[in-house]
């Protein structure tokens, strides 16, 4: 029997209860464009009360729901459940409070990541986690997927910056976890909630820690004739005792794409570029840059560009941040993987990726957060060719297994979502998986919150041939 949606409809005015195909189309997919599913209805709450009422209705009527912000998930985390409800949170976008004295921001889930930093800027503060999609992705999604970015080595991921969360759980229970202090007593439920991929419930008011904006940045772009040399340079920087804010590498194919897209002026003929960024008080950076210069001088680079001002720094970052959508110029479609390997095995991992790419005849560009071993191989394919997507997926699977085999992780920052759910049991043994499933049931005994994500399951979304995400085509977002 199909549940009537009447009760749910009564919570919302007609304009915010969407059932027509045209208006729903925008919600059928997210940043993982290879998958699509059609929800039964999309509701657009404007208040916490409406979110709570919608979740309670779903729980009571056993109708699955997916919470969604801007839909930038790269793992299919906000992909609708066929015949379920999408709870679109973009209008829950109030910054409730910025407290410069306590250095916290209290925000609703639909607030865009960058807007937190914008609002905090007048106090000399900022919100540190910076996923590449930060100009559009929302804090609710960042919390659900424990998003990362280029600065995780020094500052940690989203969960390190979330100190409290009021949430409606999948059962309809409303709880307050953590609070306004960065410290707490008792089990860290806030930490558990971060990265739960929407399987526990929906954050309604999220308390974020803000940091003082660094006084000075020192950003260096270094060109190498081989990927191995760039990888070795990362080890040399780490071994020197420096703790850079960011350490990023791009390979030749990624450089070519970025160059074509944004003319970022990276050294031509580089097989790899390394971006190192130091940040802190001016005097300290002055000191550390000498240390960095001395280290880099031993790494056999053939080109070096030091950002002379903020505009120059942003232009160095533009190449890096645009790399993913830029790869769209080289190939009509691509999959981006997000595995992690121990840093010392980066070089080995890259050699294996190249080998697997050659064997399968599929081009792979590499962009990665080298400081924390987080790879982002971009697997290129043409979705219009029969079997191309399947072949690309087969290669992606090999790369994930490689990360597991090397003692790493299947995801550093994109989450498991739909995309990697079959691999979670390869990373965790059966008893650990069973424990995680018990925890999921504790929060959601009816399995209504974002089913089909993280855990292998039967709810299969539709695979389609793809293209870039519409926002990505427009150059608004980029994948990281």
């Amino acid at each position: 029997m199909v549940t009537s949606l009447e009760g749910l409809a009564s919570i919302f005015p007609p304009s915010r209860f969407v059932r027509d195909a045209a208006n729903q189309a925008a919600f059928e997919s997210d940043g993982l464009t290879a998958f699509r599913a059609k929800p039964r209805a999309v509701v657009i709450p404007e208040t916490a009360g409406e979110v709570i009422a919608a979740v309670r209705w779903c729980h009571e009527n056993s109708v699955p729901f997916v919470a969604r912000g801007s839909g930038t998930s790269l793992s299919g985390g906000s992909l609708p459940v066929a015949d379920g409800i999408v709870i679109a949170l973009n209008r829950m976008n109030r910054i409730i409070e910025i407290d410069p004295d306590e250095r916290i921001a209290v925000v609703e889930p639909g607030v865009v990541n960058q807007h937190v930093t914008d609002a905090a800027a007048k106090y000399g503060l900022y919100y540190a986690p910076d996923p590449s999609s930060q100009s559009v992705c929302t804090i609710g999604g960042n919390v659900a997927f424990n998003s990362g970015g280029a600065h995780c080595l020094k500052y940690g991921m989203t969960s390190n910056h979330v100190i409290g969360c009021k949430a409606v759980l999948a059962t309809g229970e409303v709880v307050s976890m953590g609070g306004r202090s960065v410290e707490s007593v008792g089990p860290d439920y806030t930490g558990l909630f971060c990265g739960s991929e929407g399987l526990f419930g929906i954050g309604l008011e999220i308390t974020l820690r803000l940091l003082p904006k660094p006084e000075k940045f020192h950003t260096v772009l270094v060109g190498y004739k081989s990927l191995q040399a760039a990888g070795d340079a990362v080890s040399a920087v780490i071994d020197s005792g420096l703790l850079p804010g960011a350490l990023e590498i791009m390979d030749a194919l990624a450089i070519e794409a970025a160059e074509a897209a944004v003319a970022c002026g990276y050294p031509p003929e580089a097989a790899a570029v390394l971006i190192v960024e130091l940040e802190g008080p001016a005097e300290k950076i002055e000191h550390e840059r000498k240390q960095l210069d001395a280290v880099l001088a031993t790494t056999g680079h053939f080109a070096e560009r030091i950002a002379v001002d903020e505009a120059d720094r942003l232009s160095i970052w533009r190449g890096r941040k645009s790399a993913f959508s830029a790869v769209g110029r080289l190939s009509p479609d691509f999959l981006v993987q997000d595995g992690v390997v121990p840093r010392k095995r980066l070089g080995e991992a890259l050699v294996r990726i190249e080998q697997l790419s050659r064997e399968s005849g599929i081009r792979v560009a590499n962009v990665f957060h080298a400081g924390d071993g987080n790879l982002h191989p971009l697997i290129m394919f043409d979705g219009k060719q029969d079997g191309a997507l399947e072949k690309a997926e087969a290669l992606a699977a090999k790369l994930l297994r490689l990360c597991i085999e090397m003692g790493g992780s299947i995801t550093g920052e994109h989450g498991v979502g739909v995309e990697k759910r079959d691999f979670l049991p390869e990373m965790f043994d059966a008893t650990t998986m069973a424990m995680m499933e018990r925890l999921r049931l504790a929060f959601d005994p009816g399995l209504v919150a974002n089913p089909g994500k993280m855990f292998p399951g039967t709810e299969a979304p539709t695979l389609t041939q793809s293209g870039l995400h519409p926002l990505e085509k427009a150059g608004v977002i980029s994948r990281e």
Binding site: V182, V185, P187, P342, G373
Partner: protein, 348 residues
């Protein structure tokens, strides 16, 4: 319902109130010790739960690395397992985050004796639920942690400690706020109301610390002095030993600014209580002489719906103030410990 044969895992029992339960059999992990793996280039190490922090520190320091959150009760003999279970971080929590942010993976036994491998061994990992964070602060009531992996950082060159005199709480709060929002990149900001002093720690190359010291002095003039015994000050805070040993009951209270005044008033009214704020005012540490002091603090916290944890001494109960008993906390406990092998999460 607690199982008849319930057990409570303990280490060296430096947080004795948490390592005690009348109905439970204590299972000591103090002999399950040793560093299993240490990869300086990965910024990670893995150790058995009973390994002392002081052993870890010794090994890390040889490679110029450290745990930046200032682990607590190190001299007293704290273990890595006990530190995670108690969820304690010292003054260094201010800069890079607390113990929750540095524990990457935990192998533990569930209530039914299964071995669970949660989290991972690499510095960045978003796969599966973050159970290591749930175990932080779980006080041995959700599982028996046997092995854990931590993230570490390179040690800064030198530490320098400054004292900033503040005649009132208001001035101190205003100055802490300014210091915490400044670009000085301070390593720790603590405040002791009774001595009317804020303590600042600079961590970095010596000559850089000196320049920053000058900058800070320019801001607050002669109120700023450099302390030669800086290390001893931080050590005393992290060992909960900055006052006379008779104040043996130590209570941790996470606070926010609107609660600070209340706590300061409470401490100033009680002869047997010493107060120290760490992490730029986010945590109040209270050292109390008697159970009566703790009972009064309990009342203050209840009135403010705040929670406190007695981590040292022999209190009547370690959980004071307001600990909300939610449906979900019971359900999580049930999921982690379906046969109630471990004591309840808290007694109030």
């Amino acid at each position: 319902m607690q199982a008849e044969t319930s057990i409570l895992p303990v280490g060296n029992r430096t947080k004795q109130p948490l390592a005690d339960d009348q109905q439970a059999t204590l299972v000591s992990l103090r002999e399950l010790k040793g560093i299993i793996e240490y990869e300086p280039s990965e910024f990670t190490f893995t150790a058995y739960a009973g390994t002392t922090i002081s052993e870890v520190n010794q090994v890390l320091h040889q490679r110029q690395q450290y745990l930046p959150f200032d682990p607590m009760l190190v001299d007293a003999g704290a273990t890595v397992g006990g530190s995670v279970a108690a969820g304690l971080s010292g003054s260094g929590r201010f800069r890079y985050g607390g113990i929750r942010d540095f524990v990457l993976g935990v192998k533990f036994l569930s209530g039914t004796g299964e071995v669970i491998n949660s989290g991972g061994k690499v510095v960045k990992n978003a796969a599966g639920f973050d159970i290591p964070k749930l175990l932080t602060g779980s006080m041995g009531r959700l599982g028996v942690m046997v092995e854990m992996t931590f993230k570490v950082f390179p040690m800064p060159g030198c530490n320098q400690t400054l004292a900033v005199a503040c005649d009132s709480l208001e001035t101190a709060m205003q100055r802490m706020s300014l210091a915490a929002s400044s670009s000085w990149e301070l390593d720790a900001i603590d405040y002791r109301p009774a001595s009317k002093t804020i303590f600042l720690r600079l961590a970095g190359p010596e000559q850089v610390n000196q320049i920053l010291f000058q900058k800070i002095s320019k801001t607050w003039g002669s109120d700023v002095t450099e302390l030669s015994d800086g290390e001893a000050i931080w050590r005393a805070v992290n060992e909960l030993a900055w006052t006379q040993p008779s104040r043996s009951l130590a209570v941790k209270v996470p606070v926010h600014r609107s609660l600070m005044g209340e706590i300061v008033d409470f401490a100033s009214q009680r002869n047997g209580v010493d107060l120290h704020f760490s992490t730029a005012g986010a945590v109040a540490w209270l050292l109390c002489e008697s159970q009566d002091d703790v009972d009064h603090l309990d009342q203050v916290l209840l009135g403010k719906q705040a929670a406190g944890l007695v981590v040292r001494g022999a209190p009547e109960r370690p959980h004071i103030g307001s600990w909300p008993r939610t449906e979900i906390s019971l359900a999580v406990k049930q999921a982690m410990d379906p046969v109630s092998k471990f004591p309840r999460l808290f007694h109030t």
